[in-house]
Amino acid sequence: MTTTAEVPVPGQHHDDVDAVGRRQLTGVCLLILADVAFVGALIFSYFYLRGLNTSNAWLSDGAATAPIWVGWAIAAALVVSAGFFRWALAGLRKGNLDRLVSGIGVAVVIVLLDAAAQVVQIMSFSFKPDANAYASSVYTLAGANLFHLVLTGLVGLGVWNRARIGKYTAADPWQVHIIAIWWVWIAVAGIGGALTTSFIASPNIGS
C-alpha cells in the first residue's frame, strides 16, 4: 500500500469537533442497535409465549392482570420528557443556554419521577412473577423499562450539570444531540413495552 505523508501532527493530536461528534453519534447508534435487539428479544418472548399458550397457562381463567393504562402513562411521561430534551437541544442550537439548562432539567425530573412510578407499579402488581408466563413477562418488561429510566436519569443528571457549568455551545451541540437520540429511543422502547402489555389474552385458547 503506497503512502505519502500528510500534514505532520505533533504530539498533541485532536480531531475537529464535528469529526468527533459524528464518530460519537455512530458509536451510540450502534449501542442503541444492541439495546434494540435486547428489548426486541423481551417483546418477542412476550408474544411468543402468549401465542403459544402452553398448557393453557399463559393466563389462566381469573388470573390477575396489570392495568393497561399505567404502562401507557409511564410511556407518555417518557415521550413528554423526550420532547423537553429536544426543546432544550433546539435552544442550544439557537445559543439559548438558559433554555438548554431548564429543558434538560425538566426532562430529567420527569424521567426520575417516571422511574419512581415504575417502581410503584412493580411493587403494586396484584400478582407475582411466578404466577404464570404472563406475569413473568410483564415483570421483566417493567424491570427493563425501569433500568432504562434509571440509566437515562443518571445520564441526564450528568448532561444537565455540564450544561449548567457551560460545557456546551451552539458550535458544539453534539453530546446533547446524541443524548437526545438515546432519549427518543427509550421513549420508543417504553411505548413498545406499553403496547406489548396491552395485548393480554392469548388468541390461542384451548390448544
Partner: protein, 652 residues
C-alpha cells in the same frame, strides 16, 4: 524486565490521571472481593436464607463482585468525571494511554489500543490454557469405556465449562488481540474511536472470568455450554454463575463491537476507500457487526432464566405457560451467527497473510467481500437447523435446510479466493502460510460434514452424536483457531518487536495438526457408529475410536505447550524483528518498531490497494520479500532491546 524498569524516566510529581494513578488490577480484585462479600452478607441476611449459596445470594454476590472489580480498576472514573464536568487534560489522556508506565500499564485501565490488544492476547491464552486443560481431562476420562477417572457430576461440570470457556476464547481470539492492536494501524488511525470503551470491554471480560470459574465450585453447568432450559431452571447455582458471565460478556461484546465498527467507519486514512480497505478489516467488522445484535439475544435469554431461577418465573416452565423452545430460539438466534463471529475474522486474517506469502494479489478482492457479506446475511437465517430434532416448527425444517445449504456457496467462494491466491504463487513457506494450508484441509472437512448435518434426515440420525462434536471442532478449531494461530505468527513481529521462533512454531504446528485430525477423525468414526456426545461412559464398540481420539488430544496438548513456549520464549529472547519482516504492504508494517504511542508521526494517505504484489512491483518498505536474510540484516541495525519488552512505545 527489571533492567527495563530501571530505565524508566524519573518524572516530577504529577497529578495526571488523578485517582487512576492509584487503581490497578490489585485494587480491582480488592474492590471485587469487598463488594462481593458485602453483597453476600446483605443478600444472605435480607433473604433470611439458610442456604449459603441459594440462587438469589449467588446472583447478588457475583454481580457485586463484577461491579466492585470495575470500580476498583477505575472504569467508572471517566463517566463520573464527565458528569461532574471534569474533562480530561492532555496529560490525563497520556496517562490513560499508559505513557511512561512500563509494564504497569498492562495491569491498569489503559486506553492505548496496542496495550488493550496485548491484554486481549494474554486473556485469550489464559482462557485457552484453562479450557484446553479441561479438554485433556475429558479425553483422559474417555480413554476407555469405564475409566472412572472422573465421576459423572464432575465430568458433566467439566464438559459445560470446557465448552463455554472455549467458545468465549474463540470469539475474542482474533478480534480481541488483532482487531485491537493491528486493525487501527492497518487503517491508518491513531487509536480506536472510543479508547475508554476499548479498555472497558477488556476489563469486563477479566471481571467475568472469575464468575464462570466459580461455577466449578457451585455445582457446575450440567447443561453443556448451551445452557438449555428447562434443565437450566433446575440446575445448581453454577447456572447463576453462567448467567452472570454471559450477561457481562454480552455487554463487553456490544461495547467492543460498537467501538471497532465506529473506528472503521469513521477513522480510515485519507484515500482508503472501501476497495482499498484490507480484507482483514472487512472480516473484523463483519464479526463484531454480527455480534452487536446477536449477543443481546443471549443476554435476554439469561435475564429470563434468572427471573425463572430467582423469582420463580415461568418463562421456560411448560406447566406455567412457558416454553423451552423460547430458550432454544433465543439461544440459537445468537448461536449460529456466533459461529461466523468466530470464523470470519480468522479466515480474513488468513486471506490477509496469504497474498503476502504467495507474492500475488488477493484473488478477486470483490468476491472475498461479497462472500463475507453473503455469509453475514445468511447466518441470521439458519438458526433453526440446530432444532430439527426438537419438534419445533417441523414445517420450517425444509426452508432452514435450504438456507443452511445456501451458506456453503459464499463459504466456498472464500475457499476459491484463497486457492486462487495461492495458485501459481511464489510461495514463501512460513508458519503463517502453513496455517492457511491447514485451514484449507480442516475446513473442507468441517464444511462438508456441516452440509450433511444441515440435511434434515441425516441430522435426525446424527443429532446429539459425537459426529456433531467432531464437525464443530473441525470448523471452530480446525479453521478458526488455526487461523488465529496463523494470525499470531504473522503479526507477532509487529506486536512484540521479535520474531516467533520458527522451529518451535513448526514443531507445534505438526503436533497440533496431526493430533487434531487424529482426535476428530476418530470422533467422526464413533459418532457415525452411534456414540452420543456428553456421556461419561460408552459401549465397548466405541473403545478403539475413543482411544485414538485421546492419543490425538494429547498430541494437541503437547503442540499447544510448545506454542506457548515459543510465544513466551520468543517474546522474551527472540530475534529482534525489523519493521516489515514479510515485505507486506498494509499500513501496520510501515510504522517503526517500537510503535509510537500515536502510531504515525504523520498521517498516511493511501494511494493504492493493499495487495499490489506482482512481478513488477516494489515492496512499500523497500525490503526485498524474497530475501529472508533481511531479518538478520535489519535486526543488526536495530540493536538490542530490553528483555520482555513489548513493541509499544511508552513502556520499557
Amino acid at each position: 524486565m527489571t533492567a527495563a524498569l530501571v530505565d524508566q524516566p524519573v518524572e516530577p510529581v504529577s497529578t495526571a490521571g488523578g485517582m487512576l494513578r492509584r487503581l490497578n488490577l490489585v485494587t480491582a480484585i480488592a474492590g471485587g472481593l469487598i463488594l462481593g462479600l458485602a453483597g453476600w452478607l446483605i443478600s444472605h441476611s435480607l433473604l433470611q436464607d439458610d442456604d449459603l449459596g441459594s440462587d438469589q445470594v449467588v446472583l447478588v454476590t457475583l454481580s457485586c463482585w463484577a461491579a466492585g472489580f470495575m470500580i476498583g480498576i477505575g472504569a467508572l472514573n471517566g463517566p463520573i468525571g464527565w458528569a461532574l464536568g471534569r474533562d480530561l487534560r492532555h496529560e490525563d489522556e497520556l496517562f490513560l494511554a499508559g505513557k511512561d508506565q512500563g509494564v504497569a500499564r498492562y495491569f491498569r485501565f489503559t486506553t492505548d489500543h496496542k496495550v488493550v490488544g496485548i491484554q486481549y492476547l494474554v486473556v485469550t491464552m489464559v482462557l485457552f490454557a484453562f479450557g484446553g486443560t479441561l479438554a485433556m481431562l475429558i479425553r483422559t476420562n474417555l480413554i476407555s469405556p469405564h475409566s472412572h477417572f472422573l465421576n459423572p457430576q464432575t465430568y458433566n461440570a467439566i464438559v459445560g465449562l470446557h465448552g463455554l470457556i472455549m467458545i468465549i476464547a474463540t470469539i475474542i481470539m482474533v478480534t480481541g488481540p488483532f482487531g485491537n492492536f493491528i486493525m487501527p494501524i492497518m487503517i491508518g488511525a491513531r487509536d480506536m474511536a472510543f479508547p475508554r470503551l476499548n479498555a472497558l470491554s477488556l476489563w469486563l471480560i477479566v471481571a467475568a472470568i472469575p464468575t464462570i470459574l466459580s461455577a466449578a465450585v457451585l455445582g457446575g453447568i450440567p447443561t453443556g455450554w448451551v445452557g438449555y432450559a428447562p434443565l437450566a431452571d433446575q440446575a445448581p447455582p453454577g447456572m447463576d454463575a453462567y448467567s452472570v458471565f454471559i450477561i457481562i460478556f454480552a455487554v463487553s461484546s456490544a461495547v467492543a463491537g460498537a467501538n471497532i465498527t465506529t473506528t472503521v467507519l469513521t477513522m480510515r486514512a485519507r484515500g482508503m476507500s472501501w476497495n482499498r480497505t484490507p480484507i482483514f478489516v472487512y472480516g473484523t467488522v463483519a464479526s463484531v457487526g454480527l455480534a452487536i445484535p446477536a449477543f443481546p439475544l443471549f443476554m435476554a435469554s439469561q435475564v429470563l432464566l434468572q427471573v425463572d431461577r430467582t423469582q420463580g418465573g415461568q418463562f421456560f416452565v411448560a406447566s406455567g405457560g412457558g416454553s423451552p423452545w423460547l430458550y432454544s430460539n433465543l439461544f440459537w438466534l445468537m448461536g449460529h451467527p456466533e459461529v461466523y463471529v468466530i470464523l470470519i475474522p480468522a479466515l480474513a486474517a488468513l486471506m490477509e497473510l496469504t497474498p503476502v506469502f504467495s507474492r500475488r494479489p488477493l484473488f478477486s478482492f470483490n468476491a472475498a467481500v461479497i462472500s463475507i457479506a453473503g455469509i453475514v446475511g445468511l447466518s441470521i437465517m439458519v438458526w433453526a437447523h440446530h432444532m430439527y430434532a426438537s419438534g419445533w416448527a417441523p414445517d420450517l425444517n425444509g426452508p432452514f435446510m435450504l438456507t443452511t445449504e445456501m451458506i456453503s456457496v459464499p463459504t466456498g467462494l472464500l475457499f476459491l479466493v484463497i486457492l486462487g491466491t495461492v495458485w501459481r504463487g511464489r510461495i514463501w513457506t512460513t508458519v503463517p502460510m502453513m496455517a492457511t494450508y491447514a485451514m484449507l484441509w480442516n475446513f473442507i472437512i468441517g464444511g462438508i460434514t456441516g452440509i450433511y448435518l444441515s440435511d434434515v434426515p441425516a441430522d435426525y440420525a446424527l443429532h446429539g452424536s459425537m459426529f456433531v462434536t467432531a464437525h464443530f471442532h473441525y470448523t471452530l478449531m480446525g479453521a478458526g483457531l488455526t487461523g488465529a494461530i496463523g494470525a499470531l505468527a504473522y503479526w507477532f513481529p509487529k506486536m512484540t518487536g521479535r520474531m516467533l521462533n520458527e522451529r518451535a512454531g513448526y514443531i507445534s504446528f505438526w503436533f497440533v495438526q496431526i493430533g487434531f485430525n487424529v482426535t476428530f477423525l476418530g470422533m467422526f468414526a464413533v459418532g457415525l457408529a452411534g456414540q452420543p456426545r456428553r456421556v461419561v461412559t460408552y459401549a465397548q464398540l466405541f473403545a478403539a475410536g475413543n482411544f485414538v481420539s485421546t492419543i490425538g488430544a494429547y498430541s494437541i496438548g503437547i503442540g499447544m505447550l510448545v506454542l506457548l513456549y515459543a510465544v513466551i520464549n520468543s517474546w522474551l529472547h527472540g530475534q529482534v524483528a525489523p519493521a516489515n519482516p514479510w515485505g507486506a504492504k498494509t499500513l501496520e508494517w510501515t510504522v517503526p518498531n517500537p510503535i509510537p504511542l500515536e502510531n504515525f508521526e504523520v498521517l498516511p494517505v493511501v494511494t493504492s490497494d493493499a495487495y499490489g504484489y506482482g512481478e513488477e512491483d516494489e515492496p512499500a518498505s523497500g525490503i526485498d520479500p524474497e530475501r529472508e536474510p533481511v531479518l538478520a540484516g535489519a535486526s543488526a541495525d536495530l540493536g538490542p532491546r530490553p528483555v520482555g519488552a513489548s513493541n509499544v512505545e511508552g513502556g520499557p
